[in-house]
Amino acid sequence: MTATKKSLKFILLDILYLAMIILPFAGAIVLKVLITPQTEGVSLTGAIILWQIPMPLQDLYITEVQINSWAVVIAILGLVLFLRHGLSVKPYLKRQLVLEWIVEQCDNLVMSNMGQAFMGFSPFICAIMALSAFSSLSSLLGIFPPTSDLNIIAGWAILVFILITYFKLKGGFFHYLKSYTEPIAVMTPMNIISEFATPVSMTMRHFGNVLSGVVISSLLGVFLSSLTAGLPGLLGQIPFLRVGIPAVLSLYFDIFSGCLQAFIFAMLTMQYVANGFPGEAYEKRLKRRAERAARRAAEKA
């Protein structure tokens, strides 16, 4: 394929991928407009429940947040497919350079924080960072950001907790149990508490940061519209101060804080997994296992 000429199939696929990015968000915005009840001024509510599916233990609530978070997932998938479309050894598309930059940055981050042994984690870290960042940034479009709902982040944190425990168990089950009695046996309850505090604090940190942004933006909105409410005539009808001024706060709370929290969530994931992994015990266990296998082979022979 030459550098300038793109085939029709290529362009059609491009359009499909771009639609995959845009349409979910458009759908989420339409849904938001359709289901949001009329309220006076600014109201602070949680996610709106759309459907309620009966389940054995507890009813499953399908809320706005699930829809938005799936929209974000599909949009990220579309973005990645768009970026990787037309990869070649000699890059002739700008998007390939962007993609290479992203992959390189993520690899560097994982390399410097977790080490060579955990390079397989790079896609997961990149995915969790993208998911978190795009979820927070989706509030710029006016839809309910998935990260300001506790359940979504709790899900991620539980996933990370399972990962941490899985890597801790790699050193053997007894080594894992013994790690609770470090440095002395009296500390066991403390260690158990701190073990369960990990996902809780990860959840609360991310959720609290995004939620504080949402609350403060809403309060500012109420304040600004109450300033103009007293003015006579048409001026009092239109809260014109609410145009533009909240954007300054949004710059911090939505863009900076959202990206920072995504980075920190990924950082903490890397730190916890890499620090929890008992390298020496794992090597010993591998060696023991190899010896046992060798002995068994010798017995058979």
Binding site: L44, S201, M204, R205, F207, G208, N209, L211, S212, V215, L260, Q261, F263, I264, M267, L268
Partner: protein, 93 residues
Amino acid sequence: MTLAIGLILMGCAIGAGLAMIAGIGPGIGEGNAVAAACTAIGRQPESRGTVTSTMLMGCAVAETTGLYGLIIAILLIFVAPNLFVNILVAHAA
């Protein structure tokens, strides 16, 4: 009944205000962290990137206690009054 509901609302509001005292700690702590980072960058300007990312990471971790306070405050304002009033009504009935 009205008095009881008023007392519940008052308690929730005062509690939410008190919960936000938790904001003092992270404020001081993050201030210290940023001051130390400034000193470090002043001493070794070439280590700016590493110091900044480490500082942001530490700040975010230090912020957690303040955010716990915030979440308690928000629960007290938006969730607790409804819950407590419902319990009260159920008791009275």
